[in-house]
């Protein structure tokens, strides 16, 4: 419409001129702005060394990242026991393996929590291996394990909550709604402080869990409220006709739910669930406030070492990049899932 206001020049020609001009300007600006950044990030950067003294004055000092790679990945897990973190993560993976089999994916709801528990037990010693107190857990592995374990346990709780919110029994409905609304109104950092500072005052010491476990439990129940809302959206999107048709085929109430309604609801809810999981994964860095050294904490600790003093920019750029990679990967994965789900839906069964 507005293009018609310039009748003197053919629209297409004018647009291409503008496009060229804008393109050129942007390219120039990029060259001016991005080139020095790239030089600092890569060309002038130092990659290997044991202290800041090894780094040149012009570029980034990535030597800190390479020199501390084990800490950044595993925290202060004792020497010679790093394999336990690897195995723990592998157990999580095995628990999630049914996802790869199209017909057995539902099993994940059962195997994933088992894997998550095994993973925590292995890192904690399980009474067989020497115990490693959670104060030694840390680094990126901790972000991943806290995020994954919380999500694995939050999903079933979230499903129950979303069903409770749609219950025909007013008491259950109101309780579930109150829980979801209350939790969603609280910032995670407040929930974590409560878990770290308030809970030990209310529970006798001999019953107390260690502070990382308390944090994982708190994050699980926090995340459950968000997942409940995502699942509720999915439930609302399942047409009433599906339920009626299932009942007409003679399925019982729970069979309708488990075999007809939930699978469709969860498929619809997948993007929202992934979205909330991405948020959760980034939020795991908040556990720094309860004294746990996750990837952010380990790097903040690193820059308090005389050897790496003043390298905050490198530390935060690295953390940002790591989280970006994780979250971008997740969102690509979610997109692929959606495409596959759309194909499955479109195909004749």
């Amino acid at each position: 419409m507005s293009a018609c206001a310039f009748p003197s020049l053919p629209t297409r020609a004018r647009r291409s001129w503008t496009a060229w001009a804008v393109g050129l300007a942007v390219a120039l600006a990029a060259l001016v702005l991005v080139a020095p950044a790239l030089r600092w990030l890569f060309w002038d950067a130092t990659w290997v060394g044991q202290s800041r003294a090894a780094c040149g004055p012009a570029g980034a000092c990535w030597a800190m990242i390479t020199a501390r790679a084990p800490q950044i990945l595993l925290g202060f897990y004792p020497a010679g026991h790093g394999w336990r973190v690897g195995l723990a993560v592998a157990m999580l993976a095995v628990g999630l393996a049914p996802l790869a089999w199209r017909r057995r994916a539902g099993l994940t709801m059962l195997t994933a929590p088992v894997g998550a528990l095994a993973c925590l037990a292995l890192m904690g010693g399980a009474g067989i291996l020497p115990s490693v107190p959670s104060a030694y857990w840390g680094g990126l592995a901790l972000n991943l394990i806290v995020g994954a374990v919380s999500a694995i346990f939050a999903l079933p709780i979230g499903i129950l909550l979303s069903l409770a919110r749609r219950s025909t029994l007013p008491v259950i409905r109101i309780l579930a709604s109150a829980y979801v609304e209350a939790v969603r109104a609280a910032p995670l950092i407040v929930v974590l402080f409560a878990a770290a500072v308030l809970v030990p005052l209310l529970i006798p010491p001999q019953w107390s869990l260690d502070k990382l476990t308390r944090a994982i439990v708190a994050i699980t129940f926090f995340e459950a409220a968000y997942m409940a809302e995502a699942v509720r959206g999915g439930l609302m999107a399942v047409p009433q006709g599906q339920r009626e048709a299932a009942r007409a085929l003679g399925l019982k109430g729970w069979q309708v739910l488990v075999f007809v309604v939930l699978p469709q609801a969860l498929r619809t809810a997948t993007p929202a669930l992934v979205n909330s999981f991405i948020g959760l994964l980034k939020d795991t860095s908040l556990i720094y406030v309860i004294g746990v050294l996750d990837i952010t904490g380990v790097l903040r600790n690193a820059v308090s070492d005389y050897a790496w003093q003043g390298l905050e920019p490198e530390a935060y750029i690295f953390v940002g990049l790591t989280f970006w990679l994780l979250c971008f990967g997740l969102s690509r994965w979610s997109a692929a899932l959606e495409r596959r789900a759309a194909r499955a839906q479109g195909a004749p069964s």
């Binding site: 044991q50 020199a67 501390r68 790679a69 084990p70 800490q71 990945l73 595993l74 202060f76 004792p78 020497a79 010679g80 790093g82 973190v85 690897g86 993560v89 592998a90 999580l92 993976a93 999630l96 057995r104 994940t108 709801m109 994933a112 115990s131 107190p133 104060a135 030694y136 680094g139 994954a148 999500a151 694995i152 500072v197 030990p200 005052l201 010491p205 107390s208 502070k211 699978p263 969860l266 498929r267 997948t270 669930l273 999981f277 004294g291 050294l293 903040r300 600790n301 690193a302 308090s304 070492d305 005389y306 003093q309 003043g310 994780l326 990967g329 997740l330 979610s334 899932l337 499955a344």
Partner: protein, 368 residues
């Protein structure tokens, strides 16, 4: 059906499958230095532990657990190999040496400022060596086993200004974190001295520090240890001067649970022994010779050449010898972590010995 059910679990989980590679592969890399995993799970002395119970629990466990900073330059940080270093961690190692005769029988739990006292109360640490200010309200619920660092708020200026005393700061622009205790102290100090200033406020200390670096203000004010750390990160540390006036009291010391005086004694006399050693000229280098040849009866009592003293607080008679030999006296620990040889270049000042010139506040009762 099963195919569809996959969708939900995938979202929560698959990040893991991709993520699994990272920590797994790290196991092959150079592992962090041993913090040791032998021994029973940490079942520490319960809150409000009775007389001597904490010491017994620590002995039974085989290692001491100290709550430390999550990372504070000079005071507590991990080096490239994962070994904790710093002023506070050295005191923790000294406590372990006093109890076990082994400085390496110490383990460190990083704690945030919000939950450090909860960690102690819940028994997740035996003692906090974590620059905690002794205050009335904290002392009401916990016990401070001495002061190992007298901190306090001070001012930093650029040398080019030619200012050497706080009295010359009339009309200065001061970078300050808003809503902090430092801001209140600043207001009080300038009002009390009938000086004016122009506050340049920021919501975090980092920003205030950065603004000072950009010369948006003439003065930066914070606790002395923070000022020293800030100065060390500036482009030219030697161009900046920390003024001698200290306008607030922040006595930092080790914290223990109330109700176990015996344990308080162990921590207190770890610190006292280090102070006495400096006062008596006993260092990690000469402690063996002193123990054998010293005639000074106080040195003989301190190092266990005269028997019976360590036993009074449930330790072996050579507890002070062990901690001085393995960690050092107060001055050595100060110099190693904070002193002129480090980038922080903190002067002894208030943390000098009472007997030094000029005198400081570091003072220990006699070993008798």
């Amino acid at each position: 059906m099963a195919r569809r059910a996959r969708a939900f679990a995938v979202c929560a989980a698959l990040s893991l499958l991709t993520a699994c590679g990272d920590p797994g592969s790290a196991v092959d890399g150079p592992p962090p230095k041993a913090v040791g995993v032998e021994g029973a799970p940490a079942v520490l002395g319960a809150a409000g532990a009775g007389q001597g119970r904490t010491l017994a629990a620590v002995r039974a466990r085989g290692y001491l657990v100290c709550g430390v900073q999550q990372g504070l330059i000079g005071f507590a940080y991990a080096d490239n190999t994962g070994r904790w270093r710093g002023f506070d961690t050295d005191f923790c190692r000294a406590t372990a040496a006093a109890i076990f005769g082994r400085a390496d029988a110490a383990r460190f739990v990083p704690t945030s400022s919000t939950e450090r006292l909860t960690v102690l109360q819940a028994g997740e640490a035996d003692v906090l060596w974590r620059n905690t200010s002794a205050t009335f309200s904290r002392d009401a619920k916990f016990d401070f086993a001495g002061v190992n660092y007298y901190d306090g708020q001070a001012f930093m200026v650029r040398r080019a200004l030619g200012v050497t005393h706080a009295a010359q700061l009339n009309g200065a622009r001061v970078c300050i974190q808003t809503g902090s205790t430092s801001e209140l102290n600043l207001t009080d100090y300038f009002r009390a001295h009938k000086l004016t200033y122009e506050p340049v406020v920021f919501d975090t200390e980092d920003k205030a520090r950065a603004a000072y670096g950009r010369e948006q203000c003439d003065v930066y004010t914070a606790d002395l240890s923070n000022l020293a750390a800030a100065r060390a990160t500036l482009a030219r540390p030697d161009d900046h001067l920390i003024l001698p006036e200290v306008i607030s009291k922040e006595p930092l010391g080790p914290v223990v649970r109330q109700g176990d005086d015996g344990w308080g004694n162990v921590v207190r006399w770890t610190l006292n022994a280090m102070i006495l050693a400096e006062e008596l000229g006993v260092t990690s280098a000469n402690v063996d010779a002193q123990r054998q040849h010293a005639d000074n009866p106080e040195i003989r009592r301190l190092l266990g050449a005269e028997p019976g003293y360590g036993a009074m607080i449930g330790l072996s008679d050579d507890f002070a010898y062990q901690l001085i030999k393995q960690v050092g006296n107060y001055g050595e620990v100060f110099d190693r972590n904070l002193g002129a040889a480090t980038p922080l270049k903190i002067e002894r000042g208030l943390n000098g010995l009472w007997s030094a010139q000029p005198a400081g506040l570091i003072y220990a009762p006699p070993m008798r």
